[in-house]
Symmetry: C2
Subunit: 286 residues, 2 copies
């Protein structure tokens, strides 16, 4: 069957994912990108940037929980957190659930993404007025360059794909700055694309983190229905310590609700299929 324009479709590399649209709610060209919001038939609201799915109301909980709780329960005492990108504020909301966190700074290039999210995804923005949350709308590369060494516990790279502008956020110089800005034991985590479709990017991220001087790396994985292949990953890199272990008791006794994350998932999401392990070791058929 053919799909007509009543569907939003993201298609690349011989694979397409479509969501049936009831109505387009918003369409603007910001200084940086085209931002569109759709009301879909079965996925709630959909935000796209330059025609690529950023999130839907139905399944963003998995991504946002898995970009935050694993790294925050791995760090022994995360107080200062920086989010790079993350304009929809879903990551910010999850970070603020952690009582150890004293300050979260979100450095997002495009203020319009956040303003549009406030309007169309108010549930993701419900913690934006938390006194611990601060917003900077500027280039994160410059910000990271200018920031004092050893001043941050966790950096979350909640970015778009490594193409165009965003590719600089996956580079050795930027990761080196992140490592400098992290305190000893600090961790950065970046979304690292699909293990099935993007092993080249995943391998590149590992190499780049290594070159940037991290002391350990760890990739986790989780389903993400509306991203290409339906399977996604995030990769952590740590300064001065290994990435084994986490605050398991705190995770088991966490005082906030999650729909995907739990302490058992924390352990399970680190377990990789053979072909991923082999590819990350520079071997195998992927």
């Amino acid at each position: 069957m053919a799909l007509d324009d009543s569907w939003f479709t993201e298609a690349a590399n011989g694979y397409g994912l479509s969501l049936k649209v009831k109505k387009k709610l918003h369409d603007e060209q910001s200084p940086y990108q085209r931002i569109e919001i759709f009301e879909t038939e079965t996925f709630g609201r959909l935000m796209t940037l330059d025609g690529l799915v950023m999130l839907t109301g139905r399944d963003n909980f998995i991504y946002h929980e898995m970009m935050t709780h694993p790294v925050l329960f791995t760090h022994s005492n995360p107080k200062n957190v920086v989010i790079v990108g993350g304009g929809d504020c879903g990551t910010l909301r999850e970070v603020l659930k952690h009582k150890t966190v004293k300050q979260v700074l979100q450095v997002e290039l495009d203020e319009r993404v956040t303003r549009v999210a406030e309007q169309f995804f108010p549930e993701l923005c419900e913690s934006n007025n938390d006194k611990r949350a601060k917003f900077l709308f500027q280039d994160a590369i410059q910000w990271m360059e200018d920031t004092a060494a050893a001043s941050v516990d966790v950096i979350i790279l909640d970015t778009t794909d490594p193409v165009g502008q965003a590719s600089r956020l996956f580079s050795v110089p930027f990761y080196k700055d992140c490592m400098r800005v992290l305190r000893d034991g600090g961790i950065m985590v970046g979304q690292s694309e699909s293990p099935l479709f993007n092993m080249d990017i995943l391998r590149h991220m590992h190499q780049t983190m290594e070159e940037a001087g991290c002391d350990d790396k760890l990739t986790i994985h989780f389903p993400q229905c509306t991203y290409p292949s339906g399977w996604w990953s995030a990769t952590m890199a740590r300064k001065g310590q290994k990435l084994n272990g986490f605050r398991e008791t705190a995770a088991r006794k966490k005082t906030f609700a999650t729909r995907y994350y739990n302490a058992d998932i924390h352990l399970a999401c680190q377990t990789m299929p053979n072909f991923v392990n082999e590819a990350l070791d520079g071997k195998g058929d992927w």
Copy 2:
């Protein structure tokens, strides 16, 4: 963007998945269903039954490995295995990798699926001539009714979705027959659809297995790119024993190659997100 007829698309419930087609290789109406084979741009060959994706060359390894190795390494000594459905023979190939297995009987309704698979997916059929493999092309419901009690160690329900004909393969009477046919400690496993899209089916399977008199149930999950939502599950039910533990040493020392499965994945795939645990407990927001 709209997708034209150069794409194969499976769409339902406001969600669509498309694969770019180079060429249609085969199209027939068997006595039971329409069987089509496509050469795709980036997923190798694609088999569809009545317009629904059965498998692609690129990602079937995950499904076939996860329908077989977890159940076979959970059973203490699987000798006699029955596959219901499984006409493409990928599940059969994986089962035959286990040296403990003395006989595998595949009971598939539609012989044409197997003949077409032999032609277009020879890699999945490479073990069809193994002396331990036997094929019956007939209705599995009748076969299960007629089969002696306590004669089989593992039953793998590698079926299509529970609609039309196949819905009888998800019913209490059929599961009761499976339980009767299993030896003590025997395990059946059935594909149990998407945790994100089909929680109603997953819950129904658990209830149905319970009513059929199983002594324990366990759902596992794994990515499956070309099935709806990109995330899939299988559910085991055991006769006379609990489903905790597996032959971990044997799994770690297995003498055959796998691309997805390993002993750590065996443990990890049993770990469920909160919303799935809650739904299976009859609670929560899913």
